[in-house]
Amino acid sequence: MLPGPGARKEKNVDIVVLLKQVPATESLIQVADDGVSIKTEELKWVINPYDEFAVEEALRIREAQGGSVTVLSVGTDKAVEAIRTALAMGADTGVLVNDPAALGKGALATARVLAAAVKQIPFDLVIAGQRAVDADQFQVGPAVAEYLRIPNVSMVIKTELLDGSIRCHRTIEGGTVVVESPLPMLFTTQRGLNEPRYASLPGIMKAKKKPLETKTLADFGLDAGALEGPTARIRALSPPAERGGGRIIEGESAAEKAAALVKALHEEAKVI
């Protein structure tokens, strides 16, 4: 029997999604004048693509099992936009930790803040992107699991919820492994997990009315001093070397050109 509207399904799963707002991957990235950061004024900001998979997976699990989806982000006022988009996709509540003391201190400090925030939310499952496509550190998800003292499974491409546990298919080099973990646990997403939905237009209108709390470190009993600075410091940033121009293979006939091309691909580029 299907539960009626509002009825609690038996296996309600409360899920927290860790979400970061990042520059859109198609943005033109330019090094700022300080030489150690990037220019942010002109950038278009989006939800980290791996976190979009996380939101989608959370929504699918909630749709199948019942429960709730909370989106949690550490960021500035700007990140409200990303949280609202996740709410428009269907998440229930948003929490933004907006505190200058929480920013720019590196992945471990971010993970500590997120873990402290997650502790205040009832949860069975935490889902995070495997990495944020801005700094590509792969650290925050596993570190949050560590601070929360819960199991972590990375790079997940398929999930199956069981009674009190979850089966995750994770990619490894050349294959996949299937692991089972008791709940509560944290997993990080890998491309292929799902196809994130668009925020529906009615969803966008409803999102404005959904709860979105803003918190500071004080709300978690953390003081700024407790967060040690970044363990690694950026000394310099430089754009990758520009690609050189192409080369036009010369020759009298098509056959001659093809032969020269094959030779070049084999001997110089070493691709065939």
């Binding site: 988009t85 668009y198 529906s200 237009l201 966008i204 209108m205």
Partner: protein
């Protein structure tokens, strides 16, 4: 205040901008990659229609109380402008249902009719179509001859309609028929809701058209077709008022047509700009491209003018002012502008443009149709000029 595109973005809500951004992303990621496939197969893949449903696109102008988004005219136009930058039939699939097909019920329907039909249109579960045109009544819509006679507790319809958009997918048709031959358009014509499974109702094969190939029009045949007495739009009290309903529906459609023309023209201009940039990058001198450069300037200027008309008329309409005159002028100018721009683009693309299914060729054929339906350019000129004479007489 200037009314360029970016300025316009500043005068709509942030909510709306987020919504528009979502639609633009959908267009770029899902619709644009298949625009040619849709042109060749003359079909929109069903999974894309499903995505449109899930996005909420079928409810743009249906009020929120009936499950739609309740957008203003201006907002709806800004969405249509985006969606007509890709294959024009995507807009038809949505806009006919969420427009002429269901607006009669929204404007003049009973509460019960609104509750039965509008939420299903808004969710995309049901498609709506509008059936006015007949073999002997196109521009001269008052000349329709499809008859409806009350027999007990049902109406019996007899006659033929043609060029009915979305007739293949529609679950119901807002159908205009004569109920009193002695009275003509004012008092003798009534609007009905005909559901697809009504006995005696047949949808003919799709017309093969020069443009809008993925959007199908069909003939409808009513042969002793029975519909329940309560299917008069607005109930029995509105028997004889159907011509007014039809005209009000078409009034609104004119601005939508303007938006389609502006969207298509913008895309054509963008393609032309890219082409000139490519020519310059490949070493052509600006002096050798002067004709193309001037054409770009002419296109942009006309497009800018058209957009001002469109936006300012939409804003006036949203303020509750009567815009019959402005809407007709906007339809003339925007749709004819789009044809001119597509023609100029053809000049500058040359042989690359005339190839069947080149982007420019498709636009050239598609925008031509905008000058015909929902009132031809000539009919709009009649409306505009009669209004001018009427107003000058009242002033004298």
């Amino acid at each position: 205040m200037g009314l360029g595109r970016d300025e316009m973005d500043k005068s709509v809500s942030e909510d709306f901008l987020r919504l528009k951004q979502q639609v633009v992303q959908f267009i770029e990621q899902d619709l644009e990659p298949v625009h040619l496939q849709v042109e060749e197969s003359a079909e929109i893949p069903e999974h894309l229609v499903d995505k449109m449903r899930r996005l909420g696109l079928f409810g743009l102008s249906i009020p929120r109380d009936y499950g739609g988004l309740g957008l203003t005219t201006l907002e709806e136009i800004l969405i249509y402008e985006e969606i007509t930058k890709t294959n024009a039939c995507f807009r038809s699939r949505i806009g006919t249902s969420n427009g002429i097909g269901s607006m009669g019920i929204l404007y003049d329907g009973t509460e019960e009719q609104k509750r039965r039909y509008l939420p299903r249109v808004a969710s995309g579960e049901w498609t709506a179509a509008f059936a006015l045109t007949e073999p002997d009544a196109g521009s001269d819509a008052a000349n329709i001859s499809t008859q409806a006679v009350l027999d007990g507790d049902s109406w019996v319809l007899n006659g033929t309609k043609q060029f009915i958009t979305n007739a293949d997918t529609a679950q119901f048709f807002t159908t205009i028929a004569v109920t009193d031959e002695t009275k003509g358009a004012s008092g003798g014509v009534t609007a009905f809701i005909v559901e697809r499974d009504a006995p005696g109702f047949v949808v003919g094969p799709a017309d093969v058209k020069m443009g809008l190939k993925g959007s199908h029009t069909h003939e409808l045949v009513f042969k002793d077709c029975r519909v329940p007495a309560e299917n008069v739009i607005g109930g029995m009290a509105r028997v004889g008022q159907g011509f007014k309903t039809a005209m009000r529906v078409l009034d609104k459609g004119r601005l939508s047509m303007g938006a389609c023309a502006v969207g298509a023209a913008q895309k054509v201009l963008d393609l032309c700009v890219e082409r000139v940039q490519r020519e310059l990058a490949s070493g052509m001198a600006k002096a050798d491209l002067q004709a193309e450069m001037f054409a770009l300037a002419d296109m942009a200027t006309q497009l800018y003018a058209a957009r001002q008309m469109l936006y300012s008329t939409a804003i006036k309409k949203d303020e509750g002012r009567n815009v019959t005159q402005e809407a007709s002028m906007t339809k003339i100018f925007c749709t004819e502008m789009a044809s001119r721009i597509a023609g100029l683009a053809m000049d500058s693309f040359g042989e690359e443009g005339i190839l069947t299914r080149s982007r420019i060729e498709i636009f050239l054929r598609d925008v031509r149709l905008y000058r015909i339906y929902e009132g031809t350019s000539e009919i709009q000129r009649i409306i505009v000029s009669r209004n001018l004479l009427k107003n000058s007489r009242s002033r004298a």
